[in-house]
Symmetry: C2
Subunit: 450 residues, 2 copies
């Protein structure tokens, strides 16, 4: 049974993920993505963007700043209520999240019962931006991407023509000052989200919420290669005050099912919270009185002329969690007999960090190297992503490394190749080897990867 | 003559770039990228990553956290010296960067000569991360990507085998609390960099610095389509204390040549600053005594066994500046005669936000729409990026919009198409139209874009 520790070890050993600020003892809740982690994240982002933006006619992309004006987070409700209950131990000074304590009456660290009363701990990270600010917090790092999508609703609609229903997506960083980051990249202080806000006519929201549950579940299966039996839909036990319906897509992690994406019917809470002239609209959601917004976030129906605040169906995925799920699902330790074994990452080929490795069988033999370089250069022209050239002269070591980083195929050029123009193609999952004409390899690789 | 204001207007009108936090009066120095800005930025990033990572054998990618431990920025030297001289007016309270004042003796805003003495203003944005911090600054948003590359030098080298010379690249956000952000996306508080650190054997650094000047200059011309005459290399007038040589690639903006990329010979300053056991190495650069680093950032020569700190040649590009240069260079207002004119963005096709638009000539005619959808779906399968379907029934308006966002080709399906299987392909730059078999269009589009 694969554990999170197997993945953490692989990530460090093979350059997927390193501890953030490691050389100075780390910074809890932050991670640095190494050479293969960067590619895997990029491929997951692309799979999402391809499905959500390039594959459809009704969704626009956006990439808003990570730092935004305090007022955004006042009217979104985060400034007053995006907090966790914090308990501090008077004896040892430890700080804990009250709802996660082993025994709410005793310190998790020293066991003392002498605890401070709980207080609300703000999860947003505040900033003092601009020389004028003089140290006062006037901006926040965003705790999610959604709000900066809502506040750009009118900007997008005014510049790109759309009728309802249509959506706006963002992939980007978000920040939460978690009291206790945990589970490797599962709960971090700096993380990445891929979120869609789908704007619909009130009354069609339930239908679209059902529809997006199906679309997103299907994406996890078909685009990430996660088997359906490792996924489930779990309705929220308690709904946020503005939500009409909310469900999580959960993946079966080693410790049990846990959230990787949420699908929410947010009604008119968000556009209603940030719109000017709230009283003109008959809002369903309870919102703060907004006296600062300079723009109406409404939609005019071109047929009826009705001007109203659309409802929102949101899909919100954690990209780092998706990568963790993909790695856990792909990881295998295989017994090869004779006391030998291998670790292999059976990734969907389109997600693999390296698409193919080209290996000259012997090191520093000019004709082998030049033939290998030639092939690598042809494979690179296919535009499929990263192609690696090896030149260590140790093919066993090369295979082991490429199995562990999930490279779907290795191609070996040997002395025989110089005579017959054939090379050996080795498949990652089966370890089967076939002899194939070098000139046929680019087409073959395309078939495997795409 | 194209001005920055032409570009700002186009960016807002056509959904490239919006003011950050606009709906709440903005947040100076931040911008949100709209539907077409996202795609253009993505295409520029991909052009860079393709050239730097996928096109070579010697460069690895990295994506480090934006928030890092205070100690990184202590030992990099930023905490003590990354500041600008700030002048405050006693009369009106205005704050100015001393070296940018119109008259250093008088307030730029009110003209008063009653000014506070200059003080050093820290450009890094500090954060208090973790419940234990209690409000003290213990972390910073990174002001550049480079330092987080240096501190991961050993992590990358231990997980992916390389001999010198080799490089590590990052594309990502960086943050500077500029006193006066200016020039639209030219100088922002939140911006994006594409930086490479190339690690070389001391003694080969000058050769590699020359080499990278050529490679990078050539990339601006061949990958971004900027004519050579709009670019120049300008050596730094004053070198930073650790730099052996530094040159900027400058683009000719409407107000004159200005920096878009820097190429620096940083010697052993960076790895030397962050390494453990500095005394074991005969460092050329002057560095702070490091008592906190837990790792040696040295390299062992596999032939000689020598253990030493490599030198670094850096290339540091501003991605937002690259986009601004690309847009300025592509922008044209053309007189079409008869009092008509058009705005057109003559982007290199590979950089265009939308690769092709498919337009049914009349609106709501099912057979035209279904044929257009069919073609759009085939074009999407090419994986070239965004393909748009139009259905406004106003072809003049469609052409105008696609000229302004730089779509290389529009394809119109009309009633005649239903009979002869041909469609009209219109080229953005020449406005030339040709009649072409619908089944030949995917290959044709591939030729134009790739």
């Amino acid at each position: 049974m694969t554990t999170i520790n197997d993945i953490i070890a692989l990530c460090k050993r093979r350059g997927f993920i390193f501890t953030g600020s490691e050389i100075y003892g780390g910074l809890a809740g932050t991670y640095d993505y190494g050479p293969y982690g960067v590619e895997l994240m990029k491929n997951i982002r692309n799979a999402w963007w391809n499905a959500m933006v390039y594959g459809r006619d009704d969704i626009e992309g956006l990439d808003a700043a990570l730092i935004s004006n305090r007022l955004l987070w006042k009217y979104s409700g985060h400034e007053s209520s995006f907090s966790d209950p914090l308990i501090e131990c008077k004896k040892c000074g430890a700080r804990m999240r009250q709802d996660k304590m082993k025994d709410p009456k005793k310190c998790d660290t020293c066991g003392s019962a002498d605890l401070m009363p709980p207080r609300e701990y703000q999860l947003m990270m505040g900033l003092s931006v601009g020389a004028i600010a003089g140290g006062e917090i006037n901006a926040y790092l965003r705790p999610e991407t959604a709000t900066t999508t809502f506040t750009n609703f009118k900007n997008v609609l005014d510049s790109v023509p759309h009728k309802l229903p249509f959506g706006i997506v963002q992939i980007g960083k978000a920040f939460r000052n978690e009291i206790s980051p945990r589970g490797f990249v599962f709960r971090m202080r700096e993380f990445e989200q891929a979120e869609m806000q789908y704007f619909v006519k009130p009354g069609t929201d339930e239908k679209w919420w059902e529809e997006w549950k199906k679309i997103r579940m299907n994406w996890w299966i078909s685009s990430l290669g996660i088997p359906a039996k490792k996924l489930r839909l779990t309705p929220h036990e308690k709904l946020a005050h503005y939500a009409k319906a909310a469900v999580d897509i959960e993946y079966e992690f080693p410790d049990g099912f846990d959230e990787v994406e949420g699908i929410h019917n947010r009604q008119d809470f968000d556009l209603g919270s940030h719109t000017k002239s709230q009283k003109e609209f008959n809002l369903a959601a309870k919102v703060l009185d907004n006296t600062d917004s300079i723009n109406k976030l409404s939609y005019s129906d071109p047929q009826t002329g009705d001007n109203f605040i659309p409802y929102v169906v949101e899909t919100a995925m954690g990209v780092n969690r998706a990568m963790l799920a993909v790695m856990l699902n792909a990881y295998a330790e295989e017994d090869l007999g004779d006391g030998k074994s291998r670790v292999v990452l059976k990734l969907k080929p389109s997600l693999a960090p390296v698409k193919a490795a080209v290996i000259p069988l012997a090191r520093n033999v000019p004709e082998l190297i030049s033939s290998a370089e030639n092939l690598a250069s042809q494979l690179r022209k296919l535009g499929l992503g990263r192609i690696e050239m090896e030149n260590s002269g140790n093919i066993g070591k090369n295979y082991r490394r490429h199995d562990e980083i999930g490279t779907p195929v290795c191609i070996t050029i040997d002395h025989q190749s110089m005579e017959d123009g054939m090379a050996t193609l080795r498949h990652r999952d089966t370890m089967a080897q076939e002899r194939i004409k070098i000139s046929d390899i680019p087409e073959k690789i395309k078939d495997i990867i795409m």
